[in-house]
Each structure stands twice: as C-alpha cells, then as structure tokens.
Assembly symmetry: C2
Homo-oligomer: 289 residues x 2
C-alpha cells in the first residue's frame, strides 16, 4: 500500500515538522494565511498574497517578491484538484535563544493542505456570544495575522461544543473588535460598519473586499461602508449583522448572548437583505477566481 | 568521529523538531522556563518547577505531578556536568486546525540545553532604555511565561547591538511592567518595589524570591518589599534600581535613556547597597542549590 502523500511542505520539502529553534515555535514570531480551495482553485488568492506580503513587511520578515509564485506551486503540489483549506505560515526562521530578532533572518515557509468540503459556507443563520476575554492592544501589529493567538485560544475555550458558532471579542475599552476567527460587520440603514483595527484584531481578506465597496450589492442597495469604533450597543441597534472570513465567507448573525449565555438580541429574518446579497456577490467571486 | 549528542529532547526522545500541527507552533499555545545550570546543577530548580506547574494550570494544560522528576532526568541527560542554560517548553500538544483547544490535549514536552558559561551574571552596572512598544494587557495570563512573545520581540527589535543592555516596557496606561527578558525592582529608602503583574508581564522566579523577603539582606537592611503600580517617575526617584531574571540573576541599573536615546537618569554608585547585598544572597543560593 502506497504511503499517503505528505500534506505539508517545509521550505518546499515534504515534511511534518519544524526545528525547535524556529522562532515561530519559540516566540510566535511569524504570520499565517488560511486559504479556501475549491476543486484546486484558491479563492481570493491575490488578496491573500498581498496581505501575506504586507504582514511580513509589518513584522520585518524579509521575503522576496517571488513568494506568491512559489506558494502557488506548493498549493498545486499539495492539493491537486481537491477542495479544502491551504494554510501558509511564514516565520522569521531559526535563531539563537533570546527574543531579539536575528539581524539577517532566513524566513521559513510552511504550507499545509487539509482536504475537505467546507459546507460551513452556506449563508444560514448563526448564534454568537460575547466573550469575557478582551483583545489585548498591540498597535504595532494591529491587523496582522500573526502566530500570537492566545487571546483567541482563551476566547474559544470559554465555551465547549459547536454552539454558539462564534464568539465576539471586545478590547479593554469595550470596543467591539472581531470574532475568534472572523471579522464582524453591522448594517444600520444604508451604512455598513466594521470595527476599526488600529489597536488590535486581524484584518481579513473578505473584510478587505467589503471595505473597498466594489461588490455589486453596494451600488444596488446604496450601501456605504466604513470602519468605526463600535460597541455592543451598536450591534444591538443593527438592522442586520454578520461575520466574515476567507473560509466561511459570510455568516449572518441570528442571535447574540452575553458572557453568561443570557439572550441579548436576535435577528429573526437573518440573513437580512444585505447579508444575502453580499453572500451571493462573494460566491460569484469564488467561482470566477 | 562520533556524532555530537543531541542537545534537545522531544517528549524524552532525541530530536530537533516539533510537528507543524503542534499548538505551540500554530498559536503560541504553551509555556516555557529558562533554567541556569552551573556545572550540571540547575539553579532555583524547585522555584522553576513550581512556576511551570502553576503556568500550565493557568493555561489549562494538563500535566502530571511527575513532570519535574522527568525534566530533572532530561536535564542530566542533556547537560551532564556542563554549565549553560536549560530550556523547557510545554505545549498543549498537537491539535486540528482552529484556535479551539482540544478537549483532551496530549501536552508536548521539549527540552533544550545550550552549553556556555553565563558570565553576564556579574553585578556590573547596566544601561537601560525605555521601549516604545507597550505591553498588551491580557489579565487571564498575566504573570505566565507563555509562547506569545511578540511584544518582547518588538521591544527588543527597537535597538540593535548589545547596548543598552535591556529595554523596559510600560503598559498602555504608562505603568512600568518589565524588561524584555527581566523583571525590575526599585529601592526608595527602605522600600523595595516591583511592578504589579495583574494585567500583563511575566512573574519570574528571582522576582518571586525577592518578594518573599527571606533573603538575609532584608533583615540586615530592614527592607520591606511590595508590588505596586509604578511609573517612570518612580524609577527616576529611586535610590537604586535593578533587573532580575534566572539566568542573569541581578543587573544593577546604572543609566536610563528614553525612547529616543536621550538620558533620563543615572545612578553613579550602581550597584547600590541593596543590589550588591541581594546579588550576594542570590549567588549564595546558587551555590547551595
């Protein structure tokens, strides 16, 4: 019986492990991307690559411009024509003990493919809770998807089981920031609003697509989108609300409970008109590239 | 020629790498300890082990009570009679993609030995700077030495070269918290003060030894020690100040510069009487066990 093909590459070489001296392991000193793959086709590839290069630059991890081409070839090697999730990690590479980054780092590239059909992308209504854990502020890396994920781990550990589907994090000043694995949008009349991520949070690629307002729904419904400092009261006042990420696409929020599971709000008609229409726009993007 | 003995063990087995699915690599979901070893003898071993077990418990990483015995045997295997630094990492182990911690994790243990004679422990005066980066608040893990080290990495990247010797971090409210790799103490008259670590920071073992006030210097000099919310003005008003960690022991602060390198204060008589005497107490601890 043939051995199963490796599902991960370390700097392009099949393998399942990284050196213990890798700074990703020692300090969380790296960034990552989670790309949805439909029958071998990565969704929002350019957005992911631009974001990856931006995040590496924000972290001071030197990568060359050919990285996206290399990653695309590795995706083909690992995924073939399968569907699933392609994860890319770029760390600052190995280094001696000590937080101080090497002056001339050799970044390490890890690619993984997890096959599966993410049916979770259907636009059916989701239940959401507020988390007790607050997102810590680190403005220098706000928006960057880096490997220091303990706030999200703690938040996701606040409840067990699949329900609610997601938890929302606020910062220490009660500003709404993000979900444990998603960004959040609310609609009030014609205004779409999403949390400003200047102190913390992860600026995802679907969030970026909605913020550039080029999807057909914006013109058709006359929507205006902006970043804002939002609180829970804004969410409670929303006509509709949803979560986004590059694997789930868009999840309409149907109900919200507080830290102790007490109901705070529900949206009986979720998905609302904007969520439904934007979900269709995003699905079309996936099919065309 | 015989191959050099491995300097690291993964769950007790010689090896230099960890699985890419380890949550330490993916999320920084683990804790660590850095133990000074003098001629095969680990310094403050019990303190380190108690702190490691406490930190695992704080993180919800289940480890058994026999862990210190196992680690002591691994230290002997790796270090023999050598001097150097023994690093222990305990992660939540491997898990599927997603921040959510496994309900029944199998923690992973990584031990490393770096030989060398840490001459840096001499009590000679050090230069220190204030860092621009602020320590993010995550009260749930305040004091825990976990693998989410990007704040310290960013802080240490603010300057290159060996000088100044260390940088101090404040939180978003200007409260003094810690050094990039050390804790900080100030003396004002007979009062020793160290930052309260209830919102962030790492509560080191030497800090713990000073806080319990059992060293001979406390009685001899009539010192009282406490945790406090401290600012830069408190540091400027100090009769003396120093840094501590388990490898460097105690570093007297001789000079302080601001974020732009401008002088803020200097202590011409560093090490002062308390630093000198406490350093001797700590050295004695090292020699006796």
């Amino acid at each position: 019986m043939a051995a199963e093909a490796s599902r991960s590459l370390i700097d392009g070489v099949p393998g399942e492990s990284v050196p213990v001296m890798d700074r990703g392991f020692s300090y969380g000193d790296g960034v990552f991307r989670t790309v949805r793959v439909d029958a071998g086709h990565p969704w929002l590839w350019s957005d992911h690559m631009n974001t990856l290069l931006r995040d590496c630059s924000r972290m001071g991890i030197p990568v060359d411009d050919g990285l996206p081409t290399t990653l695309r070839a590795e995706l083909e090697t690992l995924a073939g024509a399968a569907s699933g999730v392609f994860k890319v990690v770029v760390t600052r590479g190995s280094g001696p003990r000590g937080d101080r980054p090497p002056t001339a780092p050799s970044p390490r590239r890890v690619t993984l493919f997890q096959p599966g059909d993410p049916t979770s992308s259907e636009a059916f209504p989701r239940s959401v809770r507020l988390c007790k854990v607050r997102m810590p502020s680190l403005p220098e890396l706000a928006g960057v998807k880096h490997l220091n994920r303990l706030p999200q781990v703690l938040a996701r550990a606040e409840w067990t089981g699949p329900l609610p589907h997601e938890g929302l994090l606020r910062d220490a000043d009660d500003a709404l920031i993000c979900g444990t694995m998603s960004n959040v949008f609310i609609r009030i009349d014609q205004r779409l609003l999403t949390p400003r991520l200047d102190r913390c949070g992860v600026a995802g690629v679907v969030r970026g697509r909605l913020l550039d307002a080029s999807l057909p729904t914006f013109a058709r419904m006359g929507l205006e989108v902006s970043e804002a400092r939002l609180g829970v009261t804004d969410l409670l006042a929303a006509d509709e609300a949803w979560l986004t990420n590059a694997v789930i696409t868009l999840w309409p929020i149907a109900s919200l409970v507080d830290e102790d599971g007490r109901p705070l709000a529900s949206w009986a008609d979720a998905p609302g008109p904007a969520a439904r229409s934007l979900f269709a726009d995003l699905q079309a993007l996936r099919e065309t590239g």
